[in-house]
């Protein structure tokens, strides 16, 4: 009998027993509950002989003795004792291996302390506002205590969410977790962030972490397609940030292995509304903000300077002046010409496309219910304008969750989430005709946005494009339209049943329906022509549609054996089916007046349609075991057997069950609580010191649906359609696997006043999924293969400290620092070179994945003698002369420099992956005020400034930056800017170190000041006012608008600045009230 009762003192059964009674485990209620349980316990434990006297002192985390703390021995029949003024207490223990239960008052957390055969103990309490090892985490469908985690994880503080400008959870994670490199994609509202956890694990497949919201995996990034340059669907916008109650990032395979082939890039577990209250609460959030135009616009040439440059460029073409006059009369106008007035300006076009803009959020959160049924409901509205004129995001979302206790043994939960949002967008700078940023840089300052009538009066009609080219930037704002609408609907239904004290089962079904529609109109008026000038206007429509069914069912078993052993097991399976459909259409040359914008309006023979249809299924069986011995030794093992419809019929490295190949993924970990060992157990300030090590293998099945099958490609021939084998099928195509070994130390000092974590890891991607080159005689140039290896080595450090605490003033610091080095260690062929707009990217052994690949730019030949002495020619046999770029002649076909600047002279010239990243968060509390500052830095990455590449190449008539004033203009001039040259046949603006910049930066991400209003202020509860500033200061050598950008979710595009909208400086004021 006693044994049974003692077992209840161990964490898992204890908690679950409480929960199974339908009693909620939060706050004060739990404490009352526990007390009553102990009382019950005492009655049954009367046989125990409590012979060991234990003396102790209880301190606050600042070292002040604490009186009036209730102390009891778990499982003992004695009444709890209360500490004296000096914080002292005495209790009697039966075995010396009992747990002390401390129930303090005054804002301190309840605490459990393992006696560990000590007769004298000193205990530091943890304030309620500091995270402690006794806090619970929910991982793998069960709660675990933080102190017992064997995994490398970070749980994210979410209370600050409303102060930041983040609209989706990925952005919110920035600077908060060591090892997590978060890159906000752009200043366009809702654009989300590119997230790289512990380097890069995959080159050609999905490399974003798996996000799991309330147990349901989120639509992976990169599934949806868009015809809008620079736009990528951010599936995390389906989640309202205000709904989040907990976020945990899992970095090592201990837990991710349970997700088998889905979480090799890490796992972000998110919990939303917890309907676990019986009292109705209503919370209302309102906030407004202002986003500012970029503080620093790029300094461009003025009208006179640009006119000079245009002449210089034109004359460099070798054309005679008469020809140039004939082709470009605008440059030779006299006052009596009626067009003269159009060219008498000095317009700063950048100022015309940016605009300060407002945003608003409103959110209501209602929870309530009783013992039988409880619910949570939230409703949010976002209206967020962009800093590019006429852009913006608005949306609303509704989330409803409910919990029903149908029978004592059966519970049900159901939830619905509805999200609608709509964005008005513009294109990034790789589309020169429509990008507001690129056109505003390139448009000549001689011109102005509006037309003049015959009398010379400016009228409201936008100016058309003249022979100098470049769309009217204001037309890209006013006439160009791109609208993107997303509907997502998620419904979930779950059942939960307890078979007995130890064994329970849960199942959860979800159905996700996700639709994104996009409509784009590229107008005629004021714009350059499109598609090699063939189209005067273009309409596009795209429709994405994804249906996902998911079920997760598992059996959970928790039991303790004897006093020293705890064991728990989780056995379950996942089923997921996905059906994706994409349809798009494009039409050109509808009416010149831009009034006809539907797909049927365009020219018949220029109409294009296309689409995709993808179906993929996933099934996995998983098992997770956890074992703890004496609170000192912790052990876990996980494995998962995954079947995916994407791998080949004879996938390599799998096991075949019933003819189907299954991938096997596994992990194991151990942790050793050093602080409980005899040497350290009396070091009272050392609350917890734990060493852990884990290793395992996870996978990635993002191969595409058909890479392994022998399918045929449809192709037009004459008036009919033909078919040919689309690819070299690879039926051995299999999971990419990631091995990771991680070791770390968790330390907690003075009642969690200081907590620190250090982790060191190595990961290796094997069987990397790559588009590998194949021999030409096979008829295809590439094939999807498991061919390559890559590794990441890194370390992470994270610390929290309450630096100061006295009376009304508190100061907390949270800092993280991480380092990672990525390297490709095996690849088929010498190197894989991928061309992207303006640059080449290489993957080669010994270099980080996706390194930039180009020439070394050493300056400019100052004189013809110098150029003649160097005697270099380019890959088109054109000699470099005075004023041309000097590129390093590294090698040639014979392995020696050959005087020709060509592919042999390219090498890796930088990597977009930073060496170090980190964040520093300071929080100061004074009475009801809190001042929060967050700072982050990125160090050691290189970026390709594509915008500058377009803005300094001097090969056409576009306006350029002031930097080109230093261009080479006369023999003997020493400068590092080459001469202006029409069309650049020499290759002065070729991709080289000239365009690579240091991407390091330090940014003050957020400063916020909040004031918590005393209770019952105007009958509101928990009211809080706050003001906040985002992106207030950035220190960087980067010459573009903003050193932080990400063009897409593909790793190949990272570190390339295609002119994304810079992140605005934002001011936010808001209020939160409870009703």
């Amino acid at each position: 009998m006693r044994k049974i009762i003692n077992r209840t003192t161990l964490s898992y059964p204890f908690k679950s027993a409480i929960m199974k009674k339908g009693i909620h485990t939060t706050g004060r209620l739990r404490r009352v509950m526990m007390l009553s349980l102990f009382l019950t316990t005492m009655v049954f434990s009367s046989f125990a002989q409590d012979s060991i006297q234990v003396k102790g002192i209880v301190y606050s985390n600042t070292g002040q003795p604490q009186a009036n703390v209730s102390v009891s021995i778990a499982g003992s029949f004695h009444l709890p004792v209360v500490t004296s003024e000096a914080g002292e207490f005495t209790v009697w223990s039966s075995s010396g291996e009992d747990w002390l239960i401390l129930s303090p008052t005054g804002g301190y957390k309840m605490k459990r302390v393992f006696l560990n055969n000590r007769k004298e103990v000193k205990i530091y309490l943890t304030p309620g506002d500091i995270s402690s090892g006794d806090d619970e985490l929910s991982v793998l469908f069960r709660t675990a205590l933080k102190r017992n985690m064997i995994s490398a994880y970070t749980d994210i503080e979410v209370s600050n969410i409303r102060h930041s400008g983040a609209l989706s959870i990925d952005q919110q994670l920035q600077g908060r977790a060591a090892g997590l490199h978060v890159v906000n994609r752009s200043g366009t509202p809702g654009s989300g962030a590119y997230v790289a956890l512990r380097g890069l694990n995959s080159i050609n497949t999905n490399n974003q972490p798996l996000y799991v919201i309330d147990g349901i995996p989120v639509t992976p990034h990169g599934i949806f397609n868009s015809n809008l340059d620079g736009y990528a669907y951010n599936p995390l916008m389906e989640l309202n940030l205000y709904d989040i109650s907990k976020t945990t990032i899992i970095k090592d395979p201990v837990i991710t292995a349970a997700y088998g082939s889905k979480a090799s890039n890490g796992l972000v577990l998110i919990e939303t509304l917890d309907p676990g209250v019986t009292q109705t609460t209503i919370e209302l959030d309102l906030r407004s903000g202002l986003s500012l135009v970029p503080a620093r616009l790029i300094p461009q040439l003025n009208a006179g300077q640009h006119k000079t440059l245009m002449h210089e460029v034109l004359f460099s073409s070798g054309k005679f002046e008469e020809v140039i006059q004939e082709e470009y009369p605008a440059l030779f106008l006299t006052e009596d010409d009626e067009r003269f007035i159009d060219y008498q300006h000095n317009t700063n076009w950048q100022e015309l496309v940016f605009k300060n803009s407002f945003f608003n959020n409103m959110n209501i959160n209602v929870k309530g219910g009783d013992e039988i049924a409880s619910y949570g409901l939230s409703f949010g509205l976002i209206n967020n304008r962009g800093t590019i004129k006429t852009t913006g995001y608005n949306g609303y979302n509704l989330r409803f969750v409910s919990r029903l206790n149908i029978f004592a043994w059966l519970k049900m939960n159901a939830g619905v989430s509805l999200n609608y949002n709509s964005s008005r967008l513009k294109e990034a700078a790789t589309v020169k005709e429509t990008s507001p940023i690129l056109t505003s840089l390139a448009k000549s300052p001689l011109l102005n946005p509006y037309q003049y009538d015959i009398q010379g009066q400016r009228i409201a009609t936008l100016a058309e494009v003249d022979e100098l080219g470049v769309s009217n930037p204001l037309a890209t704002i006013q006439n160009y339209e791109a609208k993107n609408t997303n509907y997502s609907f998620i419904s979930t239904l779950g059942f939960e049943s307890a078979f007995n004290r130890y064994l329970s089962a849960k199942t959860k079904f979800s159905l996700v329906y996700n639709v994104m529609k996009e409509q784009i109109f590229m107008p005629n008026h004021g714009m350059e022509h499109y598609y090699d000038q063939e189209a005067i206007n273009v309409s596009k429509a795209t429709n994405n549609d994804l249906k996902t069914f998911y079920n997760n069912t598992y059996l959970s078993y928790n039991r303790s054996l004897g006093e020293d052993h705890t064991i728990s097991s989780l056995t379950g399976f996942n089923i997921q089916t996905n059906k994706y459909e994409l349809d798009w259409g494009l039409t050109k040359n509808a009416h010149e007046n831009d009034q006809y914008r539907d797909l049927q309006d365009g020219q018949d023979n220029l109409r294009e349609i296309g689409g995709q249809n993808r179906i993929w299924n996933w099934f996995s069986m998983y098992e997770n075991l956890f074992y703890a011995y004496k609170d000192r030794y912790l052990l876990t093992a996980t494995f998962s057997i995954d079947g995916s419809s994407r791998v080949g019929d004879n996938a390599a490295n799998t096991i075949k069950l019933a003819g189907v190949p299954f991938g096997v993924f596994y992990s194991g970990g151990i942790a050793w609580r050093l602080s409980s060992e005899s040497l350290l157990k009396n070091v009272t300030w050392l609350e917890d010191l734990k060493w852990r090590i884990s290793a395992g293998k996870t996978g990635n099945d993002d191969i595409g649906e058909s890479s392994a099958s022998n399918y045929y490609q449809a192709v037009k021939f004459r008036e009919t359609v033909g078919l040919y084998p689309a690819l070299l099928p690879n039926d051995k195509l299999s999971y990419e696997t990631v091995y990771q070994i991680n070791t770390g130390i968790d330390a907690s000092l003075w009642g969690s006043r200081i907590t620190a974590t250090v982790d060191v890891y190595r990961s290796q991607t094997n069987n990397m999924l790559l588009f590998s080159p194949v021999e030409a005689y096979l008829g295809y140039s590439i094939r999807m293969e498991n061919a390559g290896k890559m590794k990441n080595n890194g370390w992470e450090f994270n610390i929290f400290a309450r630096i100061y605490e006295k009376a009304d003033f508190k100061w907390d610091i949270q800092a993280s620092l991480s380092h990672v080095r990525n390297e490709v260690i095996e690849i088929k062929g010498e190197k894989l070179v991928t061309g992207i707009a303006g640059a080449e990217i290489v993957n080669m052994v010994g270099s980080p994945a996706n390194s930039f690949y180009g020439y070394i730019f050493k300056g400019v030949f100052s004189s013809q003698e110098e150029a003649g002495a160097a005697n270099l020619i380019n890959d088109k046999d054109i000699p470099f002369r005075a004023g041309d770029a000097i590129y390093e002649d590294l090698s040639g076909p014979g392995g020696e420099p050959d005087g020709i600047i060509n592919n042999y002279d390219k090498l890796t010239i930088g990597s977009s992956m930073p060496d170090y990243t980190g964040g520093l968060i300071n929080t100061f509390y004074y009475k009801k005020f809190a001042l929060h500052t967050s700072l982050l830095f990125v160090y050691g990455n290189e970026v390709f400034n594509y915008l500058r590449y377009k803005n300094e190449q001097m090969t056409g008539l576009e306006n350029q930056s002031q930097h080109v004033l230093n261009r080479w203009q006369y023999n003997g001039q020493i400068t590092d800017v080459p001469r202006a040259l029409w069309n650049d046949p020499v290759g002065n603006s070729a991709f080289s170190t000239r365009w690579i910049e240091d991407g390091s930066y330090v940014r003050v991400k957020n400063i916020s000041l909040s004031y918590r209003v005393p209770d019952h202020f105007l009958s509101f509860r928990n009211a809080e006012f706050y003001i906040s500033v985002n992106n207030i200061l950035t220190i960087s050598k980067y010459l573009g608008f903003d050193p932080e950008f990400s063009y897409s979710y593909s790793p190949v595009h990272q570190g390339v600045d295609y002119g994304q909208v810079p992140q605005p400086r934002q001011f936010i004021a808001g209020i939160k009230v409870g009703l």
Partner: protein
């Protein structure tokens, strides 16, 4: 707590069981609705036909490559300052493996699709192999596939010198790689040497040659595929008409004439003139459809250029079809036109232009046979091959518009009078462009057809054969040069028909009369291309070989005028250089277009026959 009820357990068990039992395979291998896998295909005739349509689409992808490699390495086409690095490489005979114009991938993509189709046809329709069974549409598909594969191999081997031979029985990538990489050699006992004197002394050497097993050279490719086409094909040319009024379908897919053209060219390349003639004859003298490939007035004079605007079965034998409205376009206009958005990367050489501008119609010569040095022109004639040259094959562009006919004629006239400065003034700032692929097309069409075989070319091949066609009759050597002349000049090789006048290759464009046609004579005069004055002569009396070679060169020039930029120039040069066993013949002609310095380098480089090929697979 209540005792656990058994239902949930059994429900879960049921669920799991149901899942495992219910079509596991389908769950892990769902149909991708828009992607058709091989096992869903090959059910009916229409599916077979669509596979063949796919192969034709793969043929289209070779168009740019054939023209760039066949012409830019020859003497008629050169680069402009806009040429991309890959084109510069081709021009310099310095081709890297990454070169997009030189990559063999597209040839082998077509070969791989053909192999796959041929294998499946043989498996599922074994009747295609049995000549005794009446012809079905499957036989025709099979014939087309064999032609396509032979054509791809023949072109590939002419470009790469030696190519891996991949038999259709090799299916997976692993099988093919294992085969290609397996050690061992291939020994062939028959090596047919080029004979330069055709019929009457066809020299055949029996000598074993040893090759790596995986690589076939030109002879092996021709041996294998001529043999296969002649032996295996029951029929070729399905009636693919989608729109029955569109007769062009017939010559945009492989058809019996096209097969004969391919076989003829293969034999001609190999030096087997007898067999080559046999196949060409089937085209030229085929009575079916009213001798459709005779050269009558259908494309005479101004109509000659219509060859490049429409597809017409009186001239076209096999053509790669393109059409913008059906989203099938190519890069020809992009490469050749100097107008935005085109890139103007390639242009005709000066030598090419002179081939048209340097011939004269209606010239009258006063010939002194006794003392040819005294021969002189009475009337120089009217310069230029006006119908095939300016405005058809090439064009002059000044400030974005073409030079008018008047200006052009004035320029020629000034030049003929020796006023080079006056001519130069007209030509100041003029760009020269290849116009064949732009005739009657607007700037965005980019859908010119590429003619693979047409009647004009076959006739010139045949003239070449007749030039060498001589036989020894009791010590007297009888030649057929008259027939050759007839084919080129006026069509007199054909029986005279009142209703249908035969014109011959030159006669079609008004250059076939005795005053302006080609001739074979004891004295061969050289003329100044600008003035047509006689500047020298060669005495070929009693020198049959000399006359034959002289005429062969004139035929080569004629091919330049008739077939410039159609992709065969380099092959023509190789054929004749090989026939003469004189690499310098090719080296001299090709190197002439390079600037001094570069010229010697290219000349020396091309003296080595191995350098005529892109040694991709060695």
């Amino acid at each position: 707590m209540k005792k656990p009820v058994k239902y949930p357990k059994s429900i879960i068990l049921l669920l799991v069981a149901a899942f495992i039992i219910s079509s596991c395979k389908e769950f892990f291998d769902p149909d991708q609705e828009l992607k058709i896998t091989q096992d869903q295909l090959y059910d009916d005739w229409y599916e077979y036909r669509s596979i063949e349509m796919g192969m034709y689409a793969l043929q289209q992808e070779l168009a740019e490559q054939l023209v760039v490699l066949g012409e830019l390495r020859g003497d008629l086409l050169t680069i402009t300052g806009n040429a991309d690095a890959d084109l510069v490489e081709v021009y310099n005979f310095n081709i890297s493996k990454e070169n997009k114009y030189a990559s063999p991938t597209n040839f082998f993509k077509l070969i791989s699709a053909c192999n796959n189709f041929i294998r499946i046809l043989k498996e599922k329709h074994p009747e295609v192999l049995n000549k005794n069974i009446p012809v079905t549409n499957f036989d025709r598909l099979y014939g087309e596939a064999l032609c396509m594969r032979s054509w791809a191999y023949f072109n590939a081997v002419r470009i790469y010198g030696r190519v891996p031979f991949i038999h259709e029985s090799l299916v997976t990538m692993e099988e093919i790689e294992a085969y290609v990489n397996s050690p061992g050699t291939y020994i062939d006992s028959v090596y047919i040497n080029f004979s330069k004197d055709g019929y009457y002394n066809d020299t055949i050497y029996n000598q074993p040659i040893t090759l790596e097993k995986n690589l076939y050279d030109l002879h092996m490719v021709i041996d294998y595929f001529t043999n296969q086409l002649e032996k295996e094909i029951k029929a070729v040319g399905v009636n693919h008409h989608i729109d029955n009024n569109d007769l062009s379908w017939e010559v945009t897919v492989w058809n019996p004439w096209a097969m004969d053209a391919l076989l003829g060219v293969m034999y001609l390349t190999q030096g087997n003139l007898v067999k080559a003639a046999g196949h060409f004859r089937l085209i030229m003298y085929n009575p079916s459809e009213n001798y459709r490939y005779q050269l009558d007035n259908s494309f005479a004079n101004n109509n000659w250029r219509n060859i490049f605007t429409n597809i017409d079965s009186r001239e076209h034998i096999f053509t790669l079809w393109f059409n913008k409205a059906n989203f099938q376009q190519n890069e020809f206009q992009m490469m050749f036109e100097p107008f935005d958005p085109h890139k103007y990367m390639l242009k005709p050489t000066h030598a090419a232009i002179l081939k048209w501008e340097g011939i004269w119609r209606a010239q009258v010569m006063d010939e002194d046979l006794a003392n040819p040095a005294n021969s002189e022109m009475i009337f120089a004639g009217i310069p230029s091959d006006f119908y095939r040259g300016y405005g058809s094959s090439y064009l002059y562009i000044k400030n974005g518009v073409d030079l008018s006919g008047y200006e052009y004629m004035e320029m020629l006239d000034l030049r003929a009078k020796g006023d080079l400065r006056g001519a130069g003034n007209i030509m100041d700032g003029v760009d020269t462009m290849v116009f064949k692929y732009s005739i009657d097309r607007n700037r965005y069409d980019q859908d010119a057809n590429l003619i693979i075989y047409r009647a004009g070319s076959i006739h010139l091949y045949m003239a070449e054969i007749y030039t060498w066609w001589a036989f020894n009759q009791n010590g007297l050597i009888r030649t057929n040069t008259t027939v050759a002349l007839g084919i080129v000049n006026n069509g007199s090789n054909y029986d005279v028909s009142e209703t249908r006048v035969q014109l011959g290759v030159r006669g079609r464009v008004g250059l076939g009369s005795p005053n302006d046609g080609l001739r074979i004579a004891n004295i061969s005069y050289m003329h100044d291309p600008y003035t047509n004055e006689i500047i020298g002569y060669k005495n070929l009396t009693n020198n049959l070989l000399g006359k034959q070679q002289q005429f062969e060169e004139e035929l080569l020039d004629e091919r330049a005028r008739e077939l410039a930029f159609e992709g065969e120039r380099f092959n023509d040069l190789i054929r004749i250089a090989k026939r003469r066993n004189d690499p310098s013949f090719l080296a001299k002609i090709v190197s002439a277009k390079y600037p001094a310095g570069k010229r010697e380098q290219i000349y020396n480089y091309l003296l080595d026959e191995n350098n005529w090929y892109i040694n991709y697979f060695n």
